[in-house]
């Protein structure tokens, strides 16, 4: 099934939430996923994104993206277990030798490490998906400008995302063109495969360059760069309540940093897996983190943000 990964205004509470709040919340998750090592914490971060995805009615798009991440995770786990031999629990040992790495062996620890990394990746991708599915690209642009990022770079980024769907259409059409000429993209030896890809990618690249020139012409013709200071027709207004929401979005990050500072959330994979034993205090602290993470949902119901 072909899915629309473009922003769609589904009118949910999450869509109506001020983009800054979503930015704050998503950066909290992403940063926490990077500083925590403990798989349980990473799992919590990942799970915390699910109710928000459901509230945003984006689970179909989310699922198909996540499927892709699962493939990627599999690759991570396989590669990691093939090249990291620090673990002590050897599951499989090969007899041949890889230069510089030595005799490959697959250890339980390496597999678990791969799993941990995948969990981290899942949490991060899931959080970004929420941002992509619920923030209008142009609002993203406005938000980035509010954060004092330079207009031209922001515009370039937003244009490249705007033309992504056109690029995907192009790719489909160009593949059809070359298949009609007898090209079998996935057949033959590696060299042949690369050549086949070239038959599609070279026109794709040239078409994109043509498109770039045309867009530039069109922008110049509409007074782009006429004035040093540009005005903006729409602006994201941050009401006092919105500000509270933004702070609430950052709260999990602050609390998480505190936890990490206190020594929670670390984990040792090598040489053998650290035992997981949680005391009551840590369980309560984790619960607090979850509550803070999910606080975005009740806050979202409170008030709509206004776009002028």
């Amino acid at each position: 099934m072909k899915l629309n990964f473009r922003y769609q205004d589904k009118g949910t509470l999450i869509h109506k939430l001020n983009p800054f709040v979503k930015l704050a919340w998503v950066s909290s998750i992403v940063l926490l996923a990077m500083i925590f090592e403990h798989p349980l914490y990473l799992l919590l971060l990942f799970l915390a994104t699910l109710p928000v995805v459901i509230a945003a009615k984006g689970w179909q798009e989310w699922l198909s993206l996540l499927r892709f991440v699962l493939y990627l995770s599999l690759v991570i786990i396989i590669i990691n277990s093939l090249v990291m031999y620090h673990g002590t629990h050897v599951l499989l040992e090969f007899t041949f030798e890889i230069p510089t790495l030595g005799q490959p062996k697959i250890t339980l620890e390496a597999i678990c490490f791969g799993l941990g990394m995948s969990l981290r990746l899942l949490a991060i991708v899931s959080a970004f998906t929420i941002l992509n599915l619920t923030v209008h690209p142009d609002d993203m642009l406005l938000a980035a400008l509010k954060l004092r990022l330079p207009f031209k770079s922001v515009l370039a980024t937003s244009l490249s995302t705007r033309f992504m769907p056109a690029l995907i259409d192009d790719l489909g059409r160009l593949t059809d063109v070359q298949r009609s000429r007898g090209l079998e993209i996935d057949k033959g030896k590696l060299i042949q495969k690369i050549r086949s890809r070239g038959a599609v990618l070279i026109p794709l690249l040239s078409n994109s360059l043509d498109r770039t020139v045309q867009i530039a012409e069109a922008m110049e013709s509409r007074a782009f760069g006429a004035r040093k200071v540009r005005t903006y027709f729409r602006e994201i207004k941050l009401t006092p309540f919105g500000l509270i929401q933004v702070v609430a979005g950052f709260l999990p990050l602050i609390f998480g940093l505190f936890l990490r500072f206190k020594g929670y959330g670390g984990y040792r994979y090598y040489p053998s897996l650290q035992k997981i034993n949680l005391n009551w205090l840590e369980l309560i602290l984790m619960l607090v983190l979850v509550v803070l993470l999910l606080a975005i949902l009740p806050l979202a119901t409170k008030k709509r943000w206004s776009l002028d």
Binding site: L183, T231, F233
Partner: protein
Amino acid sequence: MIKIQNLTFSYAGSLEPVLKEINLTITDGEFVLLSGSSGSGKSSLVRCLNGLIPHFYGGRISGTVEVEGLVTINYSTAKLAIRVGLVFQDPENQLVTTDVEREIAFGLENLGLPRTEISKRLEEALDTVGIASLRYRSLHELSGGEKQKVAIASVLALKPQILVLDEPTSELDPQGAEDVLGIISRLNDELGLTVILVEHRLDRVIHLVDRLIVLDQGRIVADGQPAKIMRSQYEKLDKIGFGFPPLITLTQKLIKAGHQVNGLPLTVKEARTVLEAFFRAVKKPSSRINKKINKKPPGIPAIEVEKLWFAYQKEPMVLKGIDLRLCQGEFIAVMGRNASGKTTLVKHFNGLLKPGKGKVLVNGQDIKKLTVAELARQVGYVFQNPNDHLFADTVEEEIAFTLKSLGFENIATRVNNTLQRFNLTPYKKQYPRFLSGGEKQRVALASVLVAEPKVLILDEPTRGMDHGLKTSLMQFLKEYRQHGNTVIVVTHDVEMAAAHAERIILLSEGKVVVDGHKKEVLSRALLFSPQVNRILQGFEKYGVPQDILTVEETLDLLKEGGDGSVDNWG
């Protein structure tokens, strides 16, 4: 007011100027049609008007271009934007944001206007173009015609006195084109905007414009009132491959045959008045012409379609139970509105799509059992944009690529033969993408036909093509068919279908609504008939046969059926 004096321009890296000693004055409120074959310099001239040349495209320039008192070389394009608005060909590649409102505001924001002024101008622009209902829509949901209207509105919001449009309809379907041209002419009529329009569908606009300027190889070769130019410079323009609307050709041929014609008609309505006298004399030869539709005995089928159903996703159904039998040697035009399923249907013929339900047989073989590559030897497919075909370093390699993919032998000989057949031998070592439009089209065609498929599918081959290119493409197709091969074109081009196809298949909502000889399908229709037929529809009362579609047929009719009495009426 635009004043161009002795303008000569060549792009950086090219010796031959694209514009040569152009002298031109355009006064306020004029509606100017700029015409000429591709490569004649139209687009370059248009880009001089708002300073894209020389500010965006470098090169060597001499002479001056003055717009509303500003010499363009001294002002950037961004500064000139409030005086000259430029709308481009491809609606897809001139929109910068993601929804209608933001798109129209984009230029105004660049000017640094306060928010209240932006809202005011936004309202005006939406209403002027009549797209207020689209206001909150996402651009990617809009049709090509709607996008082009948004592009016009976004330029108008800057309040330019001059509106320049570079082939604004060439990427649109007929309905979208009609809408856009209607708006353009209204802007000139009601707001008094100066409009400079580059357009190749002359029959749609020739009667609306005040002035026609024809470019050839960078020079202005004709400039004046359209009717006058069509009358006095027909021969000269015909020689440079100017694409006259059929009714002009018809009238001119009558004049050439020594008949007296009062005035030169530009519209179907005018033509009916001016030419009526000729047809009053026709003595009921309708029976004769009708018999000419030779109901050929059913030939050997090349492609058979049985109860074909197809959908890209679960919903909606794009093809709904299509039954067809396409025979060897036929020239078939598949027509119909956008999204009626034309392209989806023909993509089944070379296996790019596989039937959801039902069957498609190519030369008796079920396509479900064959790969696209296996079918490529039997069915060739040429896509609309030749650029999509081209990726190799040389023309020679481009053509050889198909043969290699398909595992042919004697590649060198086959490539050489094909190069000769398509007059490409001189270019064989050149980079295909740097060739001219017509040459690229030939390379794309050659790269498909080198595999000698018995069936050739072309998707919108004439869209955006000038008259000369169309003629040479049709010549190639004619030669191709002489060997008993089948041609299938997906097209909106009624005139082309009327002149060259035999059989027309009309699709609507995924179903075949009409399938028959062109004389049955394209006659007596309202907009779906060629211009000549629409003229003759007015003369049915005189017994003029209603299945005539082309200028040649009409002339034949007058020769034979007129009893030689045409002169009496002249």
